[in-house]
């Protein structure tokens, strides 16, 4: 269903403009990292793309979605995963059931993805008693189980320790390798370098540049990005 095209996208809340006219095109393939200072509008932009927020102006166009519902072919992982008060397995099944899968399909697929993210042993444990890292892996499993064309990740490792972060990163790479487009925000520039193919740099609600990762870090096009990189890197 890609490419995704944003056309003069705007969003304001309570009279405050947060996204002030962003146009961009996200192609299938490259892992897109959305960077920008706090309050730049990264999370809001992602929610607009995912359809959780309704734009105040402009359009989100899924070009490849012929007939089908684009919402059904994307998934999102949040900074703080919301675990339902049920077992890890049931959490994954919950999403699959909503996607209209048969009970048998749900069960098999859920067990598969738990195996992949390394939570097979924890399948029957209540999701809320898992560790933070395990919960985020479960959130990834729940999202990925839906077989999305696009996976949005909103600072998925912000609350995790380095070991758990590394597990999540390798899972993201694996999901990407299996053919899913990755769109992700992060504060961690090292992570952006490790995981990203291209950068969308946002500042105060505007897209300053969309650049391949290497060029972004060595030779950013915008002065705001240059300041940002200098400020963020030690």
């Amino acid at each position: 269903m890609l490419p995704l095209e944003l056309h003069n996208l705007r969003f304001s809340a309570g009279g405050h403009p947060i996204i002030r006219g962003i146009s961009a095109r996200l192609e299938a393939g490259p892992r897109s990292i959305i960077l920008g200072p706090n309050g730049a509008g990264k999370s809001v932009l992602m929610r607009l793309c995912h359809g959780l927020l309704v734009p105040s102006g402009g359009e989100v166009i899924w070009h490849g979605a012929k007939g089908g519902d684009p919402r059904r072919r994307q998934a999102m992982v949040f900074q703080r995963p919301v675990m339902l008060r049920r077992s890890a397995l049931a959490n994954v099944i919950y999403g699959l059931k909503l996607a209209g899968k048969s009970p048998r399909e749900c069960e098999l697929r859920a067990q598969d993805v738990l195996e992949v993210v390394g939570l097979a042993q924890q399948a029957s444990r209540p999701a809320r008693v898992l560790s933070g890292g395990e919960q985020q892996r479960l959130a990834l499993a729940r999202a990925w189980a839906l077989g999305p064309d696009v996976l949005f990740l909103d600072e998925p490792t912000a609350n995790l320790d380095p070991a758990a972060t590394q597990e999540i990163e390798s899972l993201i790479n694996m999901i990407h390798a299996a053919g899913t487009k990755i769109v992700m925000t992060t504060h961690n520039l090292g992570q952006a370098r490790r995981l990203g193919d291209e950068v969308l740099f946002i500042d105060r609600g505007l897209l300053k540049e969309q650049t391949p990762i290497e060029r972004f870090f060595s030779k950013p096009a915008s002065s705001e990005a240059e300041t940002f990189i200098r400020g963020e890197l030690p």
């Binding site: 929610r47 959780l52 949040f78 919301v82 339902l84 008060r85 049920r86 919950y94 809320r128």
Partner: protein
């Protein structure tokens, strides 16, 4: 103070003696109030959840109304239900006035606003946490409401118990629609009212202590279940 001493003695004699009359009164109390609370929960929990996740005109007004109805005097409810169920009333042909069924109806009316208003609050708080995650997974509002009821179940148990407490403790409504008929509609509270009016204050207070002990026992049980469940499910 000697009155209190006598009351404890009377309560003890009632419990230790296991009078068959008392047992049937206690059973009827439990039957009526538990039935009322079950029916009320079946109505009020979905109602509370619907208001919590729904966005419709008049919603705020409905919330204010429900909160106000929590303080509905039982006598007023009793009178309304009496007028409804009386032979001269619109539902008179049912012929259930002065039966336990009428008492269940009255207590249900009394308890629905309590469970609905309190569960609305709890579920709305949970909805704030779950909103984006559930919508991201593609849950419709009705299915989100059901998910939230299930996920807040431990808090809801406390609310349902509060409803039970109100039902089991009220006398105004069941007195009017039940008629306090010996062996048919006499429950703990109407028996207490009767003994009070006969001037047998120790016996009345003794019955009151038995009622208190029952409600206490039920609450302790629920607290225990909640504690164990929370420890298990997080």
């Amino acid at each position: 103070m000697s009155g209190l001493g006598e009351a404890f003695a009377a309560a003890w004699a009632l419990i230790a003696g296991v009078e068959p009359g008392l047992v049937s009164i206690v059973l009827l109390s439990l039957q009526v109030s538990l039935s009322a609370v079950l029916i009320a929960s079946a109505i009020a929990l979905p109602l509370g959840a619907a208001i919590a996740v729904g966005r419709f005109p008049g919603r705020q007004l409905l919330i204010v109304l429900l909160n106000a109805l929590m303080g509905l005097p039982p006598v007023v409810v009793g009178l309304l239900v009496y007028l409804l169920l009386s032979r001269a009333g619109p539902l008179g042909s049912l012929g259930i006035l002065f039966t336990p069924s009428a008492m269940v109806v009255a207590q249900t009316v009394l308890v629905v606003p309590i469970i609905a208003a309190l569960s609305r609050q709890v579920i709305e708080d949970a909805w704030r946490e779950y909103d984006e995650q559930l919508r991201s997974l593609g849950a419709s509002r009705p299915s989100a409401a059901l998910t939230l009821i299930w996920d807040t179940r431990f808090s809801l148990v406390t609310i349902v118990l509060a409803g039970f407490g109100r039902a089991a403790a009220e006398v105004g409504a069941v007195m009017i629609v039940g008629g306090n008929i010996d062996g048919v509609t006499r429950v703990m509270t109407t028996a207490i009212a009767l003994e009070t009016s006969k001037g047998d204050l120790p016996l009345a207070l003794g019955l009151g202590l038995v009622l208190l002990a029952l409600v206490l026992l039920l609450n302790a049980l629920a607290a225990l279940i909640r504690e164990l469940a929370t420890r298990r499910y997080g």
